[in-house]
Each structure stands twice: as C-alpha cells, then as structure tokens.
C-alpha cells in the first residue's frame, strides 16, 4: 500500500477533465452541494441505477454548502406546517444518527435565544409556542441569573433567554465528503469542472456542458444558486433565486472558552440576525449578515459587513473582539421570496427541482434526499432493488475527540501521524496523505484545508503553506505524499 514512489491508482468514478461518458445515465444530479451529494448517496443505494453527479466547480460543496454557519438545527423556529419544517425536523434526526455512525463531528452544545430588551423578552413565550408547534418540546425559559451562570462572558444587559438544548454544531465539510465518498464508492460517477450550459429534451435529457454532452433519462436540479437558471433552461419559470449574502468572522481558538452555547438573537422581521457559536474545530463563529444582492458571485466580504459584525459581537460577547480573527468569509443563501423550499417534481420532463434550500439545507439534506427519491419514483424512475451502503468512517477534525496526533497507537503504527505539518491546527502528514489519496481527493489547497483543516489556523500558511503546496504538487505528479 505505502510504496513511496509508485503512482497512485486513479480514483474510480471521479473525473475533472476530458470527455464525459457517452452512455446515458439513468439519473443525472446537477450540483454537488450538500443536497446534491445527499441525493447521490441516497440513489447509490439502488445498484441497478446509473447515476452521475455533475458539478461546475472543481470540488464538491464549493457553493453555499462551504460557507454556512455549521449548525445542526432542530427546526424549532421553522414556519410550522411547511415542507422545510418537516424536512429539517426529519433531517435533524437522520443526520444525528448518520453522524454518530460515520464519525462526522457534532457537538450538542444547545442554543440560547438571548433577549436584550423587554420586547425581545416578551417574544420568548411566542417562540416557545412556535417550537412546540414544530414538535419541539424541550425549549425552556431561563431567567437573567441562570443565563449569566451559563454564559459568564455574555455582555451586560441581557434579560433572559430561551434554552433550546437540542441545537448542535456540526462539521459541514465532513458531512458533504461523507456523502460524496459513499456515493462514489457505491458507483456514482462524479464529474467535476462540468458546467451545464444548455439543456435539451428529446425523450431524455441532453445536457450541453463545458466538457461535452451528457445524457440522462432523469434529472435532479440541485444547482443551488443556479437552480432558477437551470430550471429555465429546462423550460420552467417558477421562481427566481435572490442571493442573500452572509458574512462571517471566525475567531481564534483562544476564544473558545468564552462561549458555551450557540447564542442566537431573537428573530426579527429582518431575519434571524447575528449569532455567536462555537465550531467543532474549537473556534468561535460570529455572523452572518443578511444582504440581498443580485450578483450570484458576490461572495466577497466588505468593510461595512465586518464592522457591523464586530459591533454586534462586541455587545454579545465583549471579550471576543479582543481575540484574533483567523478567517473572514461570506456565503450566499438561495432566497426565493417564499418562506419554504421549492422542491417540485416535473413528471412531463422526468425531473425534480430542489430549489430555495436556504439556510437549513445542511440539516435537512438526508431528509431532502429521501423526499426527492420518492418524487423521482413518481416521475417514472424505476429505482429497482435497494440495499444498505457500506458505512463510511470519516477522519476526526474536531477538538472534542482525540485527533490522530493524540493517539499513540496510531503513531506507533505509522510515524506520519506524529509528524505535524500544519502547526496551528495540528494536522499530521498522515492525515494529509490520507486526504490526498482519498476517493474524492482535493484539487488544491482549499480542498485540502476543508478535508484536513491544514492551513485553516491562525497563521494562515505562514508556516505550512509552502509545504502543503509541495505535498499537493507531488500528488499531482503522481507521487505519494
């Protein structure tokens, strides 16, 4: 296995260049975000199906999925009775179980909806009632003293809170990769760098992509921010996606002891507002902003956005602002002007649109996949027999469990796990090598960072950037890390 010079076997089923296979697929899924990957994984349970997952970018999860707030929602505050409310609730249960089985990091820290004025305090009982309407009964009111006992670093002036013990933080990246890994291992073809430019219908789909034509009998439009555009290419005009930008700040790990729960603001007409949350990697997240834009590529941050976050953050957790920021990023949610998902089957064209998966898609992903699979069957897709997938075991990137460098037996078996390359995040050569040789390998430093945390720490590459690049380039030349 560990021949240092030998060339690597090409990972089966993942392509990023060259012509696409000529044979028609039973199902093509457009968009390898968390939703598309979850659907691919779900369909992979039917071995007779030929499934392609196609993605415009060079990696899975490069769109909205990579830049969210990383919370596994209970759905306590969803609009009762909507499809979103149901799928978030079901998705929460499914993903919690799946995470435990696959090693996806989840920390059940719980959330506090903090009231900062009398009006917000008065709104808490209504929110508790809403939670109950969403079948979430564990919400409980906390008085001022209990709130500060639970969160001693909270800024002055909070009056009380609603405690939602079921809210958790999760690793979004491992989730997407677990889905994609299982799908690819079970035979799904993942075609990266494949942008759909035109679509035609001729008793089946003909997708004209940046890498040639791809044919499929059935189609799933999971194109995220591009779902409305793709729908129009497929002949439907049901909704328009308005990107809603969320800017976020990630604070250094030294900030982690400052906060114990996800600190949520009491929602207003303007949206959910700015939260402070721990991350499973041991950082603290502050954000997001909510800005409606019309440019779907506007994933940049702005001076105003950063200033607003710092101002909000200073009120919630004053000591936070004294700590260093390790990352600043922005994501775009797919708003559609309706407070619900836009999931619809179009049997006449044998396809299903999965649109408007706003800020809850990570939580709901497994439930969405289940729902979409049923809708596909309704468009005439014969799923054939089904079976369980081989379980997947993802590497631990989190602080709450032992990392490879903390496991003497692992290092004894392979010293590469004791050889740290990224000092800030304590990522070992062994983990980097494993990621580079994985079934869905990274294609650059960003992909490597999302798989291992290498380069994601406080020094942002001062120490390890060049060495990581060297390891990636060696892998690119077919050598082992």
């Amino acid at each position: 296995m560990r021949d240092p010079e030998g060339p690597l076997p090409a990972p089966t089923g993942v392509t990023a260049e060259g012509a696409l296979p000529g044979r028609p697929y039973d199902v093509a899924i457009v968009g390898a975000g968390v939703v598309g990957c979850a659907i691919a994984r779900r369909l992979a349970r039917h071995p007779r199906l030929n499934v392609a997952l196609i993605e415009a970018r060079d990696d899975v999860g490069q769109g909205t999925s990579k830049a969210n707030t990383a919370i596994l929602h209970t759905g306590f505050d969803a609009v009762p009775g909507t499809l979103e409310a149901r799928l978030v609730r079901e998705g929460h249960a499914r993903l919690t179980a799946y995470a435990a089985e696959s090693g996806i990091l989840v920390e059940p820290v719980g959330a506090l909806l903090v009231a900062w004025d009398e009006e917000q305090l008065a709104a808490l009982p209504r929110l508790a009632a809403k939670a109950a309407a969403n079948s979430y009964d564990a919400a409980r009111a906390l008085g001022r003293a209990e709130l500060y006992a639970r969160e001693p670093h909270l800024g002055p002036g909070a009056l009380g809170a609603l405690h939602i013990p079921g809210e958790s933080v999760i690793c979004p990246w491992t989730t997407i990769l677990a889905y994609a890994t299982q799908a690819v291992r079970a035979g799904v073809d993942l075609h990266l760098n494949t942008e759909v430019r035109q679509a035609a219908w001729d008793d089946g789909h003909r997708l004209h992509t940046s890498r040639g034509v791809l044919r499929a009998r059935h189609l799933v439009n999971a194109a995220g921010l591009g779902a409305d555009t793709l729908d129009r290419r497929l002949g439907r005009d049901d909704f328009t996606v308005t990107p809603r930008r969320g800017q976020l700040l990630v604070f250094d790990k030294f900030a982690r002891p400052l906060v114990r729960h996800i600190l949520l603001p009491v929602p207003t007409a303007l949206g959910k507002g700015v939260l402070v949350a721990p991350t499973v990697y041991g950082n603290v997240l502050l954000g997001p902003t909510a800005e409606d834009l019309d440019d779907k590529r506007a994933t940049g941050t702005t001076a105003e956005g950063i200033a607003l976050l710092r101002e909000r953050g200073r009120r919630i957790l004053p000591a936070l602002i004294e700590e260093e920021v390790t990352a600043v990023y922005a994501g775009l949610r797919a708003a559609t002007g309706q407070e619900d998902y836009r999931i619809a089957a179009h049997p006449e064209r044998s396809y299903v649109t999965v649109g408007g998966i706003r800020s809850t898609g990570l939580t709901a992903s497994l439930a969405i996949a289940e729902h979409v699979t049923a809708l596909l069957a309704g468009t005439g897709l014969d799923l054939g027999p089904g079976s369980d997938l081989e379980p997947v075991r993802m590497p631990n990137l989190g602080e709450a469990f032992p990392r490879p460098h903390q496991r003497p037996e692992l290092i004894a078996a392979d010293p590469a796990y004791g050889t740290l390359v990224c000092h800030c995040e304590r990522v070992s050569l062994g983990e980097i090598r494993d990621a580079l040789a994985g079934p869905v390998p990274p294609r650059g430093p960003d992909g490597l960072r999302r798989r291992t945390r290498a380069g994601a720490g406080r020094c942002q590459g001062f120490y390890c950037g060049a060495e990581l690049r060297e390891l990636l380039e060696r892998r690119g030349r077919g050598e082992r890390a």
């Binding site: 990630v250 030294f254 590529r297 994933t299 940049g300 941050t301 702005t302 001076a303 956005g305 950063i306 260093e324 920021v325 390790t326 990352a327 600043v328 990023y329 460098h405 903390q406 003497p408 290092i411 004894a412 010293p415 590469a416 004791g418 050889t419 740290l420 000092h423 800030c424 304590r426 650059g444 430093p445 960003d446 406080r458 020094c459 942002q460 590459g461 001062f462 120490y463 950037g465 060049a466 060495e467 690049r469 060297e470 380039e473």
Partner: protein, 425 residues
C-alpha cells in the same frame, strides 16, 4: 499516561534565541539541555531569509548561513536538538515543582519534565484575515514568511505581478524574494506617510529597481475569483484605484507566537502581546523563561540571540536555587511609544547593577516608537514622580529602529509603588 522523562533544561524553539540559550547552557554545564523544534530543521526564521543582514558588522552573513552557525554552536556545546517535535501543551506537574511539557513527534507523544524551560517560539506575521482585509478569498495571498519558504525552501513558482503590503525592512525583503522568483513588484503600499526602513534602502528600491512606493495608502479589498486579479487601494485623501496583480504579500505586522505561553497561563504584556518578563527574562511562571521575538515582534536575529544567551545566566542561577522574582511592578509606555521589554520589575531586586536582557555590560530595555520623534527624550515616571530622563542623542528616532533605555534608574523605583511609565518628549 506516558511516563515522564526528566531533563535539566528544555528550550522550545530552535531559532536564534533558543539555539543561543542552549549553546550557553550546555557549555556552562547545565546538565541535559534539549531544544525542541517543530520544523524539520533547526534555525528558525533565518532559515528562509535567503539574504544578508544577519551576523555582525564584521562578519555579515545570510540568514541560512547564520542559522547553520548557531545550530552547529549549540550542538558542539552538547545541547540535543530534536526537530519535528512539537510542544503541544503543559502537563500537570507530575514531578513536584517541575514544569512538564507534552510533545509529539514521529516517535510518538512524550512528557518531559524540566527544572527550567526557556520559551523561544519566535514571531509570525499577521495574515490577511487577522488584518480584516475584505474582499474575495482568491489564491495568491501570502505573508513574507510563506513567500520566502515557498521560494527559498521549496523553489515554488509564485505569480507574475505582486503587490507588497508594507514598507518596512521585511517588506523590502519580500519584494526581493518576489523578484528572485521571477515576478514583478507592482508596488509597495503603506498606510504610513513614509517607508519604515532606512532611506538608502527605500531609495534603492524606488530608483534603482523602479518599484513604486504608495504612501498614505490602504489596501481596502482583494479582488478575483479563483486567482487574485487585483487589489483595491484607497489613498488618505479618498481616491481609490485598483492595482492589477495576481499576488499580494502581507508583510510585517509581526505578533509573538505566544500560543504555548498562553496555554501555560503566563502573564502577557498588553503592549508586546508576548509574555511579560523581568530584566533577566523570568516570566510570571516559576521555572519558565522567555527570549527572542516571542517577547517583542520583531527585532533582528542578533538581538534575539543575545537575549537567549543572556537568559542562560538567569537559568543557571535558577538551577542553583535562586528565588523566583515576584510578579511586581509593570513597566509600560505611553504613545507614541508602543512597546517595551523587559516589562516587569521585581520589588526585591531593584539593584541597578544586575545585568539586563542578555547584553553583557549593556543592560537595557528595548522600546519602539510608532511615529518618528526628532531628538527624543525619554521620561521614566512612577506614580507621577520622575525617576529618570534620557536624551537619546541627535537625530530622529524611527519606527523601524529599536530604542534602548538603560536600567540605571531601577534603584530609584519605589518597591511599594505603582507601575512605571515611560514616555517620550
């Protein structure tokens, strides 16, 4: 739990400060002296500074040569240097009175108890994110450290057109590295009214190499998807423009690599963000000393090495049973002075003849100013009482140069008084 191995002195970090301390200690017979270094090779930052400016006036050296020299000296003296060994954290004092360090390396985890620890973990530049520079997150964004490693240690290709953010010594070193790598320097950009480097250097870059210097200018946004396509800059007068480039190097803005110090609950100095230290480099954690750029980002390598060597004296005293200084009296600065080291005084040891930070015969505090001061005078006061007045000689004190303040006034400090404040007039 892993068994605890006992040594006499552990030095964390094999940069100039750590290597110099280890060499001195091993030569003086301190017992088993181990230097722990997480990188694959000893030498610290000079290893990737492939340019002159190290060594002494009489013996100028490049960074890598200097690193090799210090390494050889430490080894010759009998210190054991263990590379690829990261100190992760402090263990609970299994051996009473000892500091225990938890490490990991290819050989596995280890717990090491030491009678004395010298922290010499150096400094790094604050990256783009910590500086809160908005925009997209494209490839092609570096710090000087990453750039130098990429070019000088790995021979990697960087972009073709680079903007260098900053105009201090290290920024000019970055510009040089960019050119060595075959790329063009579009401009040096600084928010200050002038370069923070010697005039000869600034002139040579501008006139000889034709590198424009944009002063009073801030980088307000990074542009480009995938790869950097440009940086937006704003002049103090409000004008903005885009400099097209595919590479940007954020230079200077050094911060001490104080992670281990913080984990060890050492008091930090708010001005330096490094551990607070006494004149002989004792920290507030008994048995733990600190030296080099961990104390004051960033001073020249020679200063770091002298501090390391100087700390060795105090380490030997400690090993011989000298009492640990009391936390005592903070020494702080007033703007435009921005930091001072050492920054603690022990009320019981205000003897002016004690040697200071590693400079035999020339004990002094190191300070920096934020803005140029012409013919400055330093005033040392405690509770409003003037203890000392020092004229710093003719000329202008520059932000890029260290100021030195002797310690002759230590004897006048009131052991029961408040903090000592240093100001400039």
């Amino acid at each position: 739990m892993t068994a605890v191995r006992q040594v006499d002195v552990l030095v964390v970090g094999a940069g100039p400060a750590g290597l110099a301390a280890a060499a001195r200690l091993a030569a003086a017979g301190a017992g088993r002296v181990e230097v722990l270094e997480r990188e694959a090779r000893p030498g610290g930052a000079p290893r990737h500074c492939a340019h002159g400016g190290f060594g002494t006036w009489t013996r100028p050296l490049t960074g890598p040569r200097y690193a090799r020299l210090l390494t050889a000296a430490a080894e010759r003296a009998g210190a054991v240097i263990r590379t690829r060994t990261t100190v992760l954290d402090w263990g609970l004092g299994a051996v009473s009175g000892a500091n225990v360090l938890l490490t990991v390396g290819p050989g596995g985890p280890e717990a090491l108890a030491a009678r004395a620890v010298v922290l010499a973990t150096g400094a790094r530049e604050r990256p783009r994110a910590a500086r809160l520079v908005p925009g997209t997150r494209p490839a092609g964004v570096y710090t000087t450290g990453e750039l130098q490693r990429a070019v000088h240690l790995f021979g990697q290709h960087i972009g073709t057109r680079a903007v260098v953010v900053g105009a201090q010594d290290v920024s000019y070193a970055a510009a040089r590295t960019v050119r060595t790598a075959g790329a063009e320097v579009v401009a040096l950009v600084t928010e200050h009214p002038r370069a923070r480097t010697g005039p000869a250097r600034a002139r040579s870059a501008r006139l000889v190499r034709g590198i424009p210097l944009l002063t009073d200018t801030t980088v307000t946004e990074l542009l480009g998807h995938g790869r950097l396509s440009g940086v937006r800059v704003r002049h103090r007068d409000g004008r903005t423009t885009v400099l097209p480039c595919d590479t940007v190097v954020f230079t200077g803005d050094f911060v001490p690599d104080h992670e281990l110090a913080r984990r060890g609950a050492l008091d930090l100095d708010p001005g330096t963000r490094g551990p607070a230290v006494h004149p002989a480099l004792h920290t507030t954690r008994p048995g733990v000393f600190a030296a080099g750029n961990l104390l004051h980002a960033v001073e020249p390598a020679g200063t770091a090495a002298r501090e390391g060597a100087g700390a060795a004296g105090a380490v030997l005293d400690h090993l011989a049973g000298a009492p640990w200084p009391r936390p005592g009296i903070p020494v702080t600065v007033e703007p435009p002075l921005c930091r001072i080291t050492p920054n603690l005084l022990d009320p019981d040891r205000l003897d002016p003849d004690r040697l200071g930070p590693g400079c035999p015969g020339a004990p002094s505090h190191l300070l920096r100013t934020d803005t140029p001061l012409s013919r400055p005078v330093l005033y040392v006061r405690q509770d409003g009482r003037l203890l000392h007045r020092a004229r710093l000689g003719p000329g202008t004190a520059q932000p890029y140069r260290t100021l030195r303040l002797d310690t002759s006034w230590h004897g006048r400090v009131d052991p029961a008084g408040g903090e000592v404040r240093v100001s400039a007039g």
